[in-house]
């Protein structure tokens, strides 16, 4: 079962590289933001799998919960920010 988790983690790391293309290349700022959101969601799964590999799943689950809440708050805050006047001048 450990080898299966290791294979899944390596596969997921390869999958994370795919939205990174959109993050670098994206024509508008919204494309980049949606790519950041996608990478954050996949990283959440990767942290849980790494917790199983290290045998410390009780600690890594709490890190995953904090990461999920931080990613959600960050995404909402950036979506609010780019509609304000200051964000319009930045974008």
């Amino acid at each position: 079962m450990n080898a299966f988790f290791l294979t899944s983690a390596i596969l997921l790391t390869a999958i994370i590289l795919i939205p990174t293309y959109r993050l670098v290349k994206g024509p508008t700022v919204y494309d980049r933001l949606i790519a950041v959101n996608a990478v954050a969601t996949k990283t959440l799964v990767l942290i849980v799998l790494i917790g199983y590999l290290f045998g410390r799943i009780d600690m890594f689950i709490d890190i995953t919960l904090a990461y999920a809440i931080l990613g959600f708050i960050g995404s909402l805050t950036l979506a609010k920010y780019i509609t304000t006047k200051a964000g319009r001048e930045d974008a």
């Binding site: 079962m1 299966f4 899944s8 596969l11 997921l12 999958i15 795919i18 939205p19 293309y21 959109r22 508008t28 919204y30 494309d31 933001l33 949606i34 790519a35 959101n37 996608a38 969601t41 996949k42 959440l44 799964v45 849980v48 199983y52 799943i57 009780d58 689950i61 709490d62 995953t64 919960l65 999920a68 809440i69 990613g71 959600f72 995404s75 909402l76 950036l78 979506a79 609010k80 780019i82 509609t83 319009r88 974008a91």
Partner: protein, 103 residues
């Protein structure tokens, strides 16, 4: 290899397929709104399936309860975040691509 581990591996592999499909969609689709469509739905389902497989592997204890909390959080937070970004793009005047236009 008992039935619990087999079911867990099946769920994790199904979730990986959905995550891969969403990642390919965010690169291949031509428009911001269609990319939002690819990410918000298939990615949410993929993450929920992978963590459900890990819950089956874990059994009945505190860790599986916390994993179920993560599933609930992802099911609520990921569509809300994608919708907020799409709404912000619409308010800023980004037009969706119509049929027959280039791009």
């Amino acid at each position: 290899m008992d039935i619990q581990n087999l079911l867990s591996m099946l769920f994790v592999m199904a979730g990986m397929v959905f995550i891969l499909a969403g990642s390919i969609g965010v690169v291949r689709l031509p428009d911001f709104y269609s990319r939002t469509h690819a990410i918000s739905k298939s990615d949410t389902l993929g993450v929920m399936l992978v963590i459900a497989g890990l819950i089956i592997h874990e059994g009945w204890n505190l860790n599986s309860a916390k994993l179920a909390l993560i599933v609930l959080l992802v099911a609520l937070a990921n569509p809300i975040g994608s919708h907020a970004l799409g709404h912000a793009a619409w308010l800023m005047g980004l037009k969706p691509r119509k049929k027959g236009e280039g791009g």
